[in-house]
Every structure is written in C-alpha cells, then in structure tokens.
Symmetry: D2
Subunit: 160 residues, 4 copies
C-alpha cells in the first residue's frame, strides 16, 4: 500500500491552529479514552492538555526532540509540569470531538504559567491552570533560551 | 475563550481519508506515546490501529455510540478484535507523524478480516492482520446488519 | 498451564493495606509508565492515585462493579473526581517501586475530600488534594448511602 | 504521613512468583483498564504481558535500568518485541483479578520466544506467542550476554 503514503504535508491541521492568541487542538474520543462508566477516564484530560501544549510549542518553533537531543547543549532539556490545578465540569464520551484551548498567561526565568480548557462545542468539560518549567537532565531548572523566550512572549495572553 | 470554539466542521481531516480503498489516518507521537527507551511503547500501535478502524467505520457511516445505545435493538452491539498478528519493524519516536493504513480484506457472517500497516513517510514501522467480530452485550457473535454489510462490501480491498 | 492458576487468595497484598488510617498501595514502574525523557509520564500519577482510591474503597467493602450494576438501585452509581490540585515534586523512573498513600479528610452529603501522596522510600514525588462525588447515570450527585457513609466516617483522617 | 512509608521489602509478592517454570503475576483491573463497552481495552493485555515479562526478568536478576544505563557497555541495551501473535478469548472486567502466565520457550543468539497467557481463575482470557530481541541504542540485535543467557536457559519451559 506504499504508493498511498501521503506525507506530513497532507495533514495541514494536525498540530491545530493558533487563533486570537489561543491554541486550538481537536481531539477525537476513541475506545482507548473511555472507561466502563461510559465517560472519558479522568486522567486522560491531562494527556489531551499535554498534546495541546506540545502542538502550541511546535507551531511556534519549539520541538521536544531538538531540546532533548540538542547537539551542542548536550543537556537533555525538557519541559515538566510542576503543578496543575484541575476542574472536571462534564464528561466527554465515545465518538465526541473535543477541543483543547491553550494559552500562556505568564513567563518567568525558567517557568511559565498556562491555562487550558477543554470544550465540546460550547460546553466547558475540563479546565486547568498549570505551572511548567524547563529542566535539564539532572532535573535542575534552566533559564529559557532567549529565542524561545521571545516566542513565548509574543504569544502571552493574559485575558481571562 | 468561548468565542474561539470552532466546532467539528472546522477540522475536516480529523477522521482521516479513504484513498484507493485504503483508509489513511495520521497520528502525531506525543510524550504519552513514548517510553524511557526513546521509542513508542509497543502496545500503543494497537491503539493507533483501533483509531484507524474506528475512523474508517466513521467515514462509511458506522458509529460506535449508535451500535452500543441503539434505541431499537437494545443489544449493546460492539466490535471486538478476536485475533491479531503483529510485526514490529522499526520504532516511531517523539514528534514523528505516522500514518495508519487500514483495509478490509474479507467479510464473513459476523466476522471480518483487516490488514493494518503503520508508516513514517515510506518506511513501514508496524504491520498487523486481524480478525474482528460484531458481538452483543452477552459476548455472542451477531450477524452484521445488511446495511452495514453492504458498506463493508463496497470497501473490500484484497490486494496485497 | 492451567494447573498453576493460583486464585485471588494467593495474593493477599494485592489491594494494599490500611495502616494508621492511611491506605498504602505499592506500584511498580514498568515501560508503559515512562516517557522518552526517562521519567514517569505526569498524567500517570493520576492513574496510580485512582488505583489507591479504588483499593482503599475495596478494603472497606465498597466495590465499583456493585455500585454500577446494583440490582435494586438500577442507578449506575459511580464515583467521579470533580477537582484535583496536584504538585509534581520529583520523578519516578523505570523499575522503581513507589507507594501511594490515601486518606479521607472530610465527608459531605454526596462529596468527600481526599489527600493523596506518592513516595519512593521516604522521598515525596507527587501530592494531590481532591474532591470526589457519587453520581448516578445522569451525572447527578447522589447522597452517599448510610452504610457507605459509616465506612468512610470510620476512616476519616484529618491529620496533616 | 512519612512515618508510614514501608519500603519495598514490605511487598514481597510485588513481582509475582515463579512456579514450575512459569512466572505468575496478578493484575487488578481498575477504571483505567476498561473502556465504555465494559470490558478491558484490548491493547491493555499487551501492557499486562509486558509487566509479566519485566517481572520474570527481575526475579532472575535482569533489570531494565541496568541494561539501559550500564556503566561499562554504554550501549543502552534494551528488549524489544519483534512479533506477537495474540488471541482474545474472553473479556476481563472492572474489579477482576487476572493472572499473567509467562514462559520462555526457546532461545537463540539475540532472540528468544515466549508464550504468555492471561487467566481469570481457570478461564483463559488472552494468549500470545511472541518473539523478543536484545538491541542496542541503534536498534541492532545484540547477542545475549553469557550470564543472562545462562539465566534464561535455566528457565526454559517448552511444555505446551
């Protein structure tokens, strides 16, 4: 079936979109996402939020693989969540399309704050505010490189 | 951020596409997909294949939620995999875009056979042939309804 | 290999233990738990905490399957987390044994509060306080049945 | 709650047991393991089997972390599954205790074959035969070290 391989360029929306300072990522709910209660398993909202953060970073030019295997730095840099406050408002279910909304709300030396919300159409299902940091391979906080900082700064969105 | 909700219609490729009798679904590799070896955790290819099957069915008009909560049948119908032979050819890694290719290769009374392959660009990473069946809430095989059978039949693709 | 089936009774510690009003559950870190950074994927701590809550409930005689398929109530009762505040202190890694500590700290009509902490030996890796509720199949809060309430009450542990 | 930390030694059965040449590992079914159909999500049996293999190796003195970060070899050795043929016989459900049975059936230079079965009491739920290999950081097969080979050899069990 090799001739049908269509390449990454064939899926322009795969990393979502940034609109009005908010990153939007659609997520389809599959079997794997649900539990026997019929609802999405609660911890999975954290997976969706991580996908949203990763794709937001991707769209502004920050890539996990490069940070982790950077040929010069050899520091195995990576982002970690240090605190996350979550609210579960309503459940998503099989076959649903939900949308993860992500914004950067503030920026420190090695740390930054985000707000993330998950909607199904206009209904809010899940919300979280979280603190993340850049760390090296020994777990020490590392100051955000200047070019990365500039990109984050350009997308700060403090509106409620 | 409610005003930015864009609705399902805004993501036309979310369920992949059917091209030349093969369903194609792109999958991004996130943190959650990898393990400490740096590669994608092997069981996750089964999750990607299940997403591919679900979206293939979705595009031909077969929905899990309807089967499971059908107002008339009350039979809680659902698909199960009964056997799956898998080959792991090469690993996917963080940030990769892979593509799941799915085709129906044969069709019985309650059962059908599929072939699924996962590519990164032209490289084959994973392949599987599997048998699936429609069962009711007691786990008994159920003959595929005629309209569903006709849809499957229209997409049979036995070519290697 | 059937003759070697040893039955549930052969694994006395499988649901952990309650000691001094705290439920303790050991969790082994496997490939599936880690991500390419080498650490445990952050959302997995919520899975471990859910295992801890489920086994605490199991040891005091409250079972998910019974609540969900109760022959009389027909209400499909189940527990949901409504809010969870989490702190990620240090990462667990492959082959680690960690321990989930769970205590009930307060009890309302349909709701209750818990504190959960994850340790590796004496080191705190993760902590959370959370609110959970009993709901029916329509998502409405349901008052805790009296016998369940009595069991929770007997294990309240407000100490820090 | 620090004083209640009980340490690894307090959970003697955590890695299962080897009996008559078969490794036995109990697994509890939690919310995270199930899907909306009420059954365990099919890909999760591969996770349970991987836990079984890891704990079998652990009990015979082979540890993932040591292989991957071995101070001398610097080769980042690790095991990968190269092929796995699976059969899904009957579903596990919430609150079930299942048991993963693992045996080594043959041994080559860099490769070895296993059979794994999952039971609930005497009922067979899932079975698989699989091929695994030791590879280095570049994905090349590596001959099993002699001491590891001797340990595997001592536990070969070809009986059906």
């Amino acid at each position: 079936m090799n001739e049908t391989v269509s390449g990454t360029g064939a899926w322009p929306d795969l990393a979502g979109r940034i609109e009005n300072g908010v990153h939007l990522l659609p997520v389809r709910i599959y079997y794997e996402d649900t539990d026997f209660s019929g609802a999405v398993y609660h911890a999975n909202y954290l997976r969706y939020c991580e996908r949203g953060r990763s794709d937001f970073l991707r769209l502004i030019g920050v890539h996990h693989a490069e940070l982790f295997d950077h040929p010069e730095s050899r520091q195995r840099l990576g982002f970690v969540v240090t605190a996350m406050n979550t609210r579960f408002h309503a459940p998503a279910r099989i076959d649903d399309v939900i949308e993860v909304h992500t914004r950067f709300v503030s920026l420190g030396g090695a740390r930054f704050d985000l707000v993330q919300e998950v909607f199904r159409e206009a209904q809010l299902l899940f919300s979280a505010d979280l603190k993340a940091a850049l760390i090296d391979g020994e777990g020490r906080p590392r100051r955000l490189p200047d070019d990365m900082r500039a990109r984050f700064q350009a997308h700060l969105n403090e509106s409620p």
